[in-house]
Symmetry: D2
Subunit: 311 residues, 4 copies
């Protein structure tokens, strides 16, 4: 059963050319000076939250597909300079997949029909040492900083964690927003809470985490488009609900295609929203300054991130 006309929606929300043929930033272009000032103005209580998961061998990956960070402190108890033996240092290296834990998908991460955001052809763009267009360095340059708005879906549904694979529809987003009393402005970053990250932070069980992956339905791409959202993040693996393939026929991960490839919108995944959500519930302020800067790996298709929230 076809519940969404994927192609028609993709056409309606496609932003190719909207910010020029050479654009590599997509919907982050929506974050103008007003959005920055609006974001900073939301930081009025002096509260601070880190939304990043730990980066280490116990991370979310099972090690067969993506690799969790392998950290090595290889310089230990070594003088920096043999002439000054009292002074010593430690130095470290890491091997990791860039999308192993809290991270941003760059606009080069997902594509369909051989074409990336803004009409870039895959064959011209993706190389084994990096993307020649749409690499995460272009997102890094903007910082991915703006006003953030939390939509705490799990709390609205009265559960600490949405179980299984529940689809979050535009209607549900609207209900949550109304319930929380929030509205949206151009350039906002929307944060969706399902509670799934608790499988990692409380249960410490990466396999359990894979079994509870509620998230946005494909129609939410249009909702994000209509609300002039700059970026969307969530506390699950893929922002979108993981079984959405059946909904949008012939497309798996349909929101990845719609957001990243058609809209040019970065997806933020595995953001730990637990402490922030508790605070928002307590003080009733669901908007804040979010500063979630990717590292500027030239040509990378994603980046780990430690997102910081100020209220």
């Amino acid at each position: 059963m076809k519940t969404v006309d994927f192609e028609a929606m993709a056409e309606r929300i496609r932003n190719w050319g909207r910010w020029g043929a050479e654009d590599n930033r997509g919907t982050l272009n929506l974050i103008g000076p007003e959005a920055l000032v609006r974001g900073a103005a939301a930081a009025r209580q002096g509260k601070r939250f880190s939304l990043g998961l730990p980066f280490d061998r116990d991370g979310p990956q099972d090690g067969i597909g993506r690799t969790n960070p392998q950290l090595f402190l290889h310089t230990l108890g070594k003088p920096v300079n043999p002439a000054f033996p009292r002074v010593q240092w430690a130095d470290d290296s890491v091997f990791m997949t860039l999308q192993c834990a809290t991270q941003w998908d760059a606009l080069s991460h997902v594509h369909y029909d051989g074409v990336l955001y803004n009409g870039c052809k895959v064959c011209d763009t993706l190389t084994p040492t990096g993307a020649t267009r749409l690499g995460v360095e272009h997102l890094a340059d903007t910082g991915i900083v703006s006003r953030g708005v939390l939509l705490d879906v799990a709390a609205y549904l009265g559960t600490p964690m949405m179980e299984g694979f529940q689809g979050i529809t535009p209607d549900l987003l609207n209900q949550v927003a109304a319930h929380q009393g929030v509205s949206f402005a151009t350039g906002d970053i929307v944060a969706i809470r399902t509670g799934a990250i608790r499988c990692l932070t409380i249960d410490k069980d990466r396999n359990l985490f894979r079994k509870h992956q509620s998230g946005l339905t494909p129609e939410c791409a249009e909702w994000l488009h209509d609300h002039q959202v700059a970026a969307v993040c969530a506390d699950n693996v893929a922002v979108e609900v993981m079984n959405a393939g059946a909904v949008a026929d012939e497309m798996c991960l349909p929101m990845h295609g719609l957001c990243i490839r058609d809209m040019g919108m970065p997806l933020g995944e595995m953001f730990n929203l637990e402490a922030l959500a508790a605070d928002c519930a307590a003080d009733g302020q669901y908007d804040f300054l979010m500063c979630a800067p990717p590292l500027g790996f030239t040509g990378a298709v994603g980046s780990p991130v430690n997102p910081i929230v100020l209220k």
Copy 2:
């Protein structure tokens, strides 16, 4: 000739125990709600700057000591799910030393006499897979966000770049601050500009960069202490001037020892301050919100960072 009594100064500025025996955050404890509100209030113009260098094979390292990031896009033109061949993705891995480009030194990075910040013994703390105390994850948790204040020493001296190895003294810092009309408050992050990063950003010459490493003299550690600064960063390799060993006898990198080990102050290195400095000179506003979150690598002694500034 001994110009600084290193041991006496170390004793005066040592913060061990100041925030408890279990503290892992050092001077970042100085960033309280007031500092956060003060920082956010400085972001009033809607301007945004990224201070991060590119992370790639052409980075500042010569490849013999630390390794620049080696990025691999290893999944290219692969369907995410073979049942949906239209949809494909790219995925990437990186091998890097954590301190190869723009980065924070964690409190476990440098030590002398076998003891780290807060009296942690090296032998109990540093292991080949990470530090059991003072790892960068504790800094990541705070976000390293506060009001930032730029001291543009190069501009004050009337040069685009301080050449060679010039020491920046507390007196000089005071002159620059007076000239710029800035003052300091508890929990500020101070950014020191020497212009040296231009060797990388303009000349694209990593060897030249090593030949121009002006920076703070050891006495500045006490200046930072007295001004209740939370963290200090600069556009050079080590924040401090690189030939300071002779000044503080028996100590190389004396400010590393004084700041990291005695005060518990993180050092931010290779911050690209060029665009920010030009803007500050133009509008006369030298303070701003700085959000420079390290990644929470468990037990790491440093972290790459993409520092974001909002004015």
Copy 3:
């Protein structure tokens, strides 16, 4: 129940000082010119076998502990020299744990009571960037080449694969040798076949492999010592049977301790003996030249290897 007096056996077979206080080669010293000539003389039929497993992401490791090799072809379709665009090359990098598949344990790999082979103290020897003594480079220098003798225990027991965790005793080794009609000479390399590797090569099931880990009992260390064996290898994870901890009280992996630390004997693990064993059964020749050279990673505690057999 204590069936082996571990300490007494360790004392009997300990080779410390036997080849000098500075020795790093252990029992490989037993491979003299006669052993090399004897080995080469066994290569008379012109047959050749590789005993190495594939090195790739589908290797024996589960990815949580040791990491299978992550191979990246990062230079593809690039001219070697832009002046000659017709000529292009590919280049590759790998990240791996050195003991992820077919491999040799170096004499620095396992120790007990804080002391390694030849009395080297752990604290003086093992550093995060390599062992200062007993690294695999010393084994690499000898090539680990000599006459090899296969003891096909599984075939003797009439099974393609020994199931579960069966201990192979010295008595059983003697029975197999007598059945095969083989005897031993100083400096031989003994290869033990349990058939367990078929879980990888036929079933392609790394979890199944962990469930069938028959191997040598601790007493075999003395058998190896008495037969003047230079090195021992097998087609399982650890040469020894994996539940031997209970036999030698207070010691897990007792043969690792006895062989590597007391005798100075390298252990070869995950050698694929299937094709070789079939050939030996067919022609009745169970001895051969074995050339299994570790790579000379300076200071490494093990090395991947592609062992070559000539008959």
Copy 4:
């Protein structure tokens, strides 16, 4: 000036289809049972040599292009099993480029005009996670073992090391062979000594090494073809002389193209022939058993190797 008709020579020596359309082993097919027996028969004195360079951070690479091995001992002083605290182990990981030191080029390493050995198209064969044809695993399977013959060109010329970039012609090879009194048989591995490796082994100077890269001229490809050689190795960076581009117009590294792509012959580079050469000069035996097994990295375009010689 065109001294070699590259295209005509390539056509004469091209082995495509000679061993079937699916062949991945190229000239290693020339090593039949007779060659193996002949090789083993040369191992009659009980002498043994390792031709491998050390694999470590001080290797031949400058770190900007290829990366020398980065070894990490990350498990140190850790009990294998907490129930048995006396027994501890060390474990290690490495990051490296596969061709950083002593190594074999696989048949997928170099190509021209978009086609690899045996007519394999580059676009069908090379992927970011490995070559689907012609990977080094196919060479690993053969072991690269046969009779080896040393041609000590430097000794013939009366110098410890050929300086600069001297071309070694087929005539010179014939003179050296005649002087040494050696002849060749089908399936031999030829080892060419220029002495250049002394820049690494004696002078410890990787930059000096790059300045002395004498080697084979392109015409030697036909000499190797006519002598039915299975593989060729040398003690320099590329087997061939490094300035040969001018000789064979429009082609850089012409022997790489001719040997790897047209003949299907693996090239062995940075083989340390110093000790072997001294021994051959002393006893007059210039042939031996060479066993130089690549590791079976699935899909890799090269492999590190520790080549072992028995005389």
